[in-house]
Symmetry: C2
Subunit: 344 residues, 2 copies
DNA sequence: CTGAAAGCGCTTACAG
DNA sequence: CTGAAAGCGCTTACAG
């Protein structure tokens, strides 16, 4: 453990005060060109990096933002998703010279929530979080504290929260319409995500809207939980006497579609000949299965990047006019719906 | 943004000095029972949480540890892996009242490495990192700085580094022997991970050792990169004229085995009837495919947990006797090798 | 224009 | 035994 180099050490080497060295390092006009260069050289030679605690204490900020992962969402959102979010936060964080802290929203030994400690202790200047189940108090209490918070996702109950989101309902509607309008599907099934999560609700709603406005008679829903296994289970439920009474299935995410694949295959049901299927997310798997899966690309990394930028804005400018953003989504057409993409 | 509650505010409410309040809160015997209770009550009422910067500056530590993700390993280790590592670090970190910082090892604008800034700025007290490619200077320079560092994995070139690892060579040897001894495989293929990563090298070595000591004549190796796609590619290479000249395939990880599945299936090659296959990792997918995949369970979360504990030791006690640990691994027998597990 | 004090919040070593 | 100063490293507002 090399002993840390302080500003004082840098200043001493040059023969100025720490205050002068500090100003020199940030290019203050009141420091002469010559001493500025001398200080910079000394700092470089000594490997000076400002002490975070000293700087944070003085500047009254943490130089860090936190990603708080709701316990209840660990099993609903994929590891892929969180890694995309994390990496999306990285570049804006680096640009603001801030660290990224990861925390769950567990209760601490002291009985308060981890995110509260993080903020109250000023270990982070703001928080990015994702939806938990809709009846979880967590998000409400998080937003209720008035701290700088940016949420990822759609929060109809929190109109004042700053949220970066995609229109799950519209996207789900769009991909369902593709099945109906472009492929002539008439007997539809939706394998939903947990319906106590907004994402599950919205994607189901889009499916139902599309079916209703096209006058589709068969538009069933089986509730899953976004995990691969539940996609498989849904298929076992849906297959009656070895046959599937649907010609199109809209899965609420790719993982469930992937889980469905072997079950359909084992039942001798071909994709897309016997049933056309679509997924949602496009975090990686959908591209790699056979057939590859037509899906909605959720730009998780971009969402998180914009969320981080927005959070830094919020932190810098205080509570300001709601700057929620809804990002466009696009469908990626692959073979599972019966399309024959160019690049295939 | 509620204005933070300081110790001074707590002290003022009780009518003692901040110093006394500080001692009261940590149960110093020199504070009377009565005032201790009064201070605790006031702290609770005001929602006092110690300011991290103030405490860190005074205590000369960061109250945080960092997971540094080498750029070069993002594509070799899975998102699953990193999320397991992150969650493994969570509990020890909370127990030590420390934050978990996530960083890549990118270069900063100032030209030094991110991990150096983190340590030199004392934003983290120590680092946990995973292997990058073996010719990457990164790990060497990280360890060379003498900072508290715990590495995840096997580092034959760094005998003095503190590492928490599993014996990839032994595990790979063991699962290969299972194919040979228990299932009578004679014509073996290993689909390796990148051979510029130690993990790839060790898992290949275990395979070769097992084959050699059993006197197996066919023990081929195709190099992949741990991604699903490269498993599929390896199968396309291995299948000659529609047939596979192997009766057993040892994949260096589950993802590549998963990628191989559809290619084998499309070629009409049955598992395990025509070829027995095994994976490595057991982070989730291997359990869910059809057939499910016999694999080595890598306890990534436990590894990271122990790494974090070890790191806190290292931080507290300074550089001390190497406390590297090698964890045992276990094979999970499923259907892809021809076993018929009880729970299936 | 520039030198050097003051103070962010905390905790411990010191003085009484 | 206890009160209150000193100081961690930094930066800006102030005094000269």
């Amino acid at each position: 453990m090399p002993k840390p180099v302080t500003l004082k050490a840098v200043a001493a080497r040059v023969g100025v005060t720490p205050a002068a060295a500090s100003m020199a390092l940030k290019g203050s006009p009141r420091i002469s060109e010559a001493t500025r260069e001398a200080v910079e050289l000394a700092a470089k030679e000594l490997g000076y990096v400002p002490n975070a605690a000293g700087r944070n204490l003085r500047n009254r900020h943490a130089g860090a933002i936190a990603l708080v992962v709701p316990n209840s969402s660990v099993h609903v959102f994929s590891h892929q998703y969180f890694m995309h979010v994390l990496s999306g936060m990285t570049i804006p964080a680096a640009a603001h010279d801030a660290q990224v802290i990861v925390s769950t929203n567990a209760e601490t030994a002291s009985g308060d929530m981890a995110y509260e400690r993080i903020i109250r202790s000023q270990a982070a200047d703001g928080i990015i979080s994702t939806s938990s189940s809709i009846d979880d108090e967590y998000i409400h209490s998080l937003v209720g504290t008035g701290l700088p918070v940016v949420l990822l996702g759609n929060y109809p109950d929190l109109p004042d929260a700053v949220t970066i989101w995609i229109d799950d309902t519209a996207a789900s509607r769009q991909i369902t319409e593709h099945l109906i309008a472009d492929h002539g599907c008439q007997r539809l099934l939706h394998v939903a995500g947990s319906l106590d999560h907004q994402t599950g609700i919205d994607r189901r709603q889009g499916f139902l809207d599309a079916a209703a406005s096209a006058g589709i008679e068969t538009a069933d829903v089986i509730e899953g939980d976004m995990n691969e296994e539940s996609g498989a289970a849904a298929m076992r439920t849906a297959i009656v006497d070895g046959a599937l009474p649907y010609d199109g299935i809209v899965f609420a995410n790719d993982d469930m579609a992937v889980g469905a694949l072997p079950v359909l295959r084992d039942a001798g049901i071909r994709i897309p000949e016997d049933v056309r299927i679509t997924g949602f997310d496009d975090f990686g798997v959908a591209r790699l299965t056979t057939p590859d899966i037509t899906t909605i690309r959720v730009p998780a990394q971009e969402i998180a990047g914009i969320a981080a930028e927005t959070l830094f804005d919020l932190i810098a400018n205080g509570r300001h006019d709601n700057s929620s953003q809804r990002l466009p989504v696009s469908t990626t057409y692959r073979h599972s719906c019966g399309c024959t993409p160019d690049n295939a």
